[in-house]
Amino acid sequence: MSTEQSRTTGKVTGIIANLVIVQADGPFAQNEICYIVHQGVRLMAEVIKALGDQAYVQVFESTRGLQPGSSVEFTGHMLEATLGPGLLSRNYDGLMNDLDTMTGVFLRRGEYTSTIDLKKKWSFQPIAKAGDRVVAGDWLGEVDENGIAHRIMVPFTLQGRFTVKNVAASGEYLPDETMATLLDDHNRETTVTMIQRWPVKKAVKAYRNKPRPFKLLETGVRIIDTLNPMVEGGTGFIPGPFGSGKTVMQQAISKQAEADIVIMAACGERANEVVELFTEFPELDDPWTGRKLMERTTIIANTSNMPVAAREASVYCAMTIAEYYRSMGHKVLMLADSTSRWAQALREMSNRMEELPGPDAFPMDLPAIVSNFYARAGFVYLNNGKTGSITFIGTVSPAGGNLKEPVTESTKKAARCFYALSQQRADSKRYPAIDPIDSYSKYLEYPELQKTLAEAISPEWVDKVNRLKNILLRGKEASEQINILGDDSVSVDYHLTFWKSEVVDAVLLQQDAFDKTDARTPLSRQRYMVDKIMEVVDAPFEFDSFEEVQPFYKRIIDKLRQMNYSEFESEQFAQNETDLKEIVAERTKEL
């Protein structure tokens, strides 16, 4: 890093939208942050190409009115996240400026606010003691952040081993007070505060190892938990045309998932969608702790009308916060909606730089960028043997809803769960519109997960899940046959097969995200309903003609759906269950 005296400066020589060319008077680094001074306002920018002493920088703000000759100050560092207590419950822009402390109704360019509230005191408890040998990421102490243990760690940037010289005693401290002093092998001192900085594009690797994930992450969304399970430390993506339910799906997961911490990156999507989060999260309860959802959540908002150049920064900042909390031993869920907007931002810039374009004019290295990003998720064992995880789910917005496009294809290679939303299902209001045939969770094939599922739910669980999938597949085939040959040209069995799959579809797959009860189904209830469905599907019904099949199953579906809408094990639930039994008995008696 350059020192204050030797810091490089420069002058603007060219402006093409938010790509600015700077003539530098000294050395600078790729991805270094600089500030362009325009009429007394400092506009933040990042070096994205070096050509001799010319720096090509992308400005994170509008460049309107900017003139050649404006002066530029290089900072000597890359884009960094400021990490410390108080990140939770905050609403940041894509560069981690606190949106709530900004002035005025409109965003003013060049207005940068502090990520951390430096005036707030935290109640500190030491964990390490003098003489301990520590490395980056090790816990020195902790503060209570909304009921979550926020560990104060050896900064990730410190390399090598250190000996703790001293740690502050329990008490109230400001974030920038010295909490510990470390000594390196040459007895040089390093002081540690509650705050550290990390260059967001680099992965934090302060952990011992990263095994394959093996624990279910419950989301309360039936089509995920039962059929395509997500795991702690897993990766998944939700591609789908507009209006198919990506955002609703992600928001449902963010509200219901069994996570300690939720980081949401609203990347290039609608402002009103984050307003919904701002409005609802402080009111809604975390179903796992009873605290308010906002207390476990950080929102990074770079909505579609905010600077395009900060799209990329927004997802990297979010991932860095996730890594920070994972290192404290927490179960972190990170969501990004939509990763396609980030890819588009890369495309805009690559085109402006007149780089050789890849497919659909996206940059050539898009697949590598996507897979490196997804690789930052995962379940880890920390150096102290404790565990932590980042589960990452991104949405993808394929152009024209066509999944054969670069962002979808790149992501498919990187993510292990594929939740494909289908236009057809959305059109017929079969929500969530996840295509049950095309979607998958690779984790279901992991023996590690199968083992924990058998222990946590039941030994037959995975077999049941596979049977359900099979029923859906056969139902689809039967319906295709019926459509080709006609209702009465196929045997009644085809209709039976189809309607069995309709039961699974209507009762298990379809779930109303806006109904208080139906929105979240705990795993125990999912298990109960799966058994109910199996009972109906396995019952030896017989029909004389195909015309009897549909009305009968419709009645069954109606009862099962009423059960879904009723409080679990309530009177109403029991009543519907009794009604269902009677309907089932009708057919069974007739035999």
Partner: protein
């Protein structure tokens, strides 16, 4: 734009392309407005002392020694209450023979609202059209386009919605509007006695297409004045956004940018989002609602323009001619209002969400039955009933000539359910069936 004293004048044009010219000049700001040989132009690129200007009306006949006058500022609009009732061109100059508007001069395309300063929209907009109010309820602060083929009566429907919407101001941004359509809007607003609430920025088919690019920002700058400074409820009508996007592609092609899908610029999403995201509900009561038109080609919504639009807007209203009833309907499958959740069942009767979804499911069953029929198969008795239901549903609720209250819409739907189905076929929550089944 008039020439004023102290303006910097240059005459050394180095390069002229179809849409741009490059002049040697200094002290010029990015996006600054200029006059090239009297034609309005804007700075789109600066490299050293080479300043590239996009000339809105094209470069035909521009001479290499033409006069380039820089204005020292980006495009602006003078805002004030006097805007009301006036008609302007894309530069904000009066075209109604009236005087110049005096007022505070504001840059158009200004900064975005801090998302934490927005309020969650919650006020229902009643239009009387059941295809909208029942199935795709609109909310103040929403942004939503009509998706329609060019032969659909989208401008008529939009004008009708605007007049019924109880807005304090209606701001029309017309892009590539035919003269007939321009006069249509003028007449319908005048006949409704609403002219004093209307402000229009119009680029007609007779004007250069690239000028259109200024129209939405002009309209939205005026909208922000009334919504922020005056706390008014403003409705902005943008028609036709497909022609706006076409102008974007003309410019980017002429500037040799690498086109992405359907020869649209790679930045189409961001370009459109910057406009549509001006829709907002403010804490203090002011709001901007945007209703737009995106014309389709042969109903194709996968084309880059409707596709990017759909990813940005809060739903879309899809107009289609229903040949069976011979009327234009709001298609329930392809239409969507994403903000309806905020009001239905809350500002309307509690059964609204369930009734709406059940009716659409049954309508989907009818569509399947119709496919069967087309493929020459026999229909079951249930299929027959769905077809009966669908026809009446289409005629009495989906057609755009319907004008009733939301409660009537719900009652009508229940009536159609009871007429054609048994309660379990409708699959609505028990409590509602008990209350409303007729």
């Amino acid at each position: 734009m008039e020439t004023k004293a102290l303006q910097r004048i240059y005459t050394k044009i180095g390069q002229i392309t179809k849409a741009t010219c490059t002049v040697k000049a200094t002290g010029v700001g990015y996006e600054e407005l200029a006059l090239v040989d009297g034609r309005p132009a804007q700075v789109v690129k600066i490299v050293g002392d080479n300043v590239t200007l996009q000339i809105f009306s094209g470069t035909e006949g521009i001479r290499t020694n033409a006069e380039v006058i820089f204005s020292g500022k980006p495009p602006t609009l003078k805002v004030g209450d006097e805007l009301a009732g006036r008609f302007f061109n894309a530069y904000g100059e009066p075209i109604d023979g009236g005087p110049q508007v005096e007022g505070e001069e504001r840059e158009i395309g200004g900064p975005s609202v801090n998302p934490v300063r927005r309020k969650q929209p919650s006020e229902l907009i009643a239009t009387g059209i059941a295809g909208i109010d029942l199935n795709n309820t609109l909310v103040t602060g929403q942004k939503i386009p009509f998706f329609a083929d060019p032969d659909q009566p989208f401008n008529q429907v939009m004008a009708m919605v605007a007049l019924r919407a109880e807005a304090d101001k209606i701001i029309l941004g017309g892009m590539g509007l035919s003269n007939d359509d321009y006069l249509f809007f003028k007449d319908i607003f005048e006949n409704a006695g609403a002219l004093h609430r209307i402000i229009s920025f119009v680029n007609t088919t007779e004007d250069p297409p690239v000028e259109r690019l200024l129209v939405p920002d002009m309209a939205l700058t005026a909208a922000e004045y009334f919504a922020v400074d005056k706390n008014e409820k403003v409705l902005v009508l943008l028609t036709d956004m497909t022609l706006y996007a076409d102008a974007l592609s003309i410019v980017s092609n002429r500037m040799d940018q690498i086109p992405s899908k359907d020869s649209m610029p790679g930045s189409l999403y961001s370009d459109l989002a910057k406009l549509y995201e001006k829709a907002v509900q403010f804490e203090e009561g002011g709001s901007i609602t945007i209703i737009a038109v995106t014309t389709l080609s042969g109903g194709d919504i996968t084309h880059a323009i409707p596709d990017n639009t759909g990813y940005i807007t809060e739903g879309q209203l899809f107009l289609r001619r229903d040949t069976e009833i011979g009327k234009v309907v709001v298609d329930p499958f392809r239409s969507l209002s994403r903000l309806k959740q905020l009001v239905i069942g809350k500002k309307t009767r509690a059964d609204h969400p369930q009734v709406m979804n059940a009716a659409v499911r049954l309508y989907a069953d009818a569509a399947n039955a119709r496919t069967k029929l087309e493929n020459g198969f026999d229909l079951t008795e249930y299929d027959q009933r769905t077809l009966e239901f669908a026809k009446e549903y289409s005629d009495r609720l989906l057609a755009i000539d319907v004008n009733i209250g939301t409660t009537d819409m719900l009652d009508t739907t229940w009536e159609l359910f009871a007429k054609n189905f048994a309660p379990e076929e409708v699959a609505v929550k028990r409590e509602f069936v008990e209350k409303y089944w007729k």
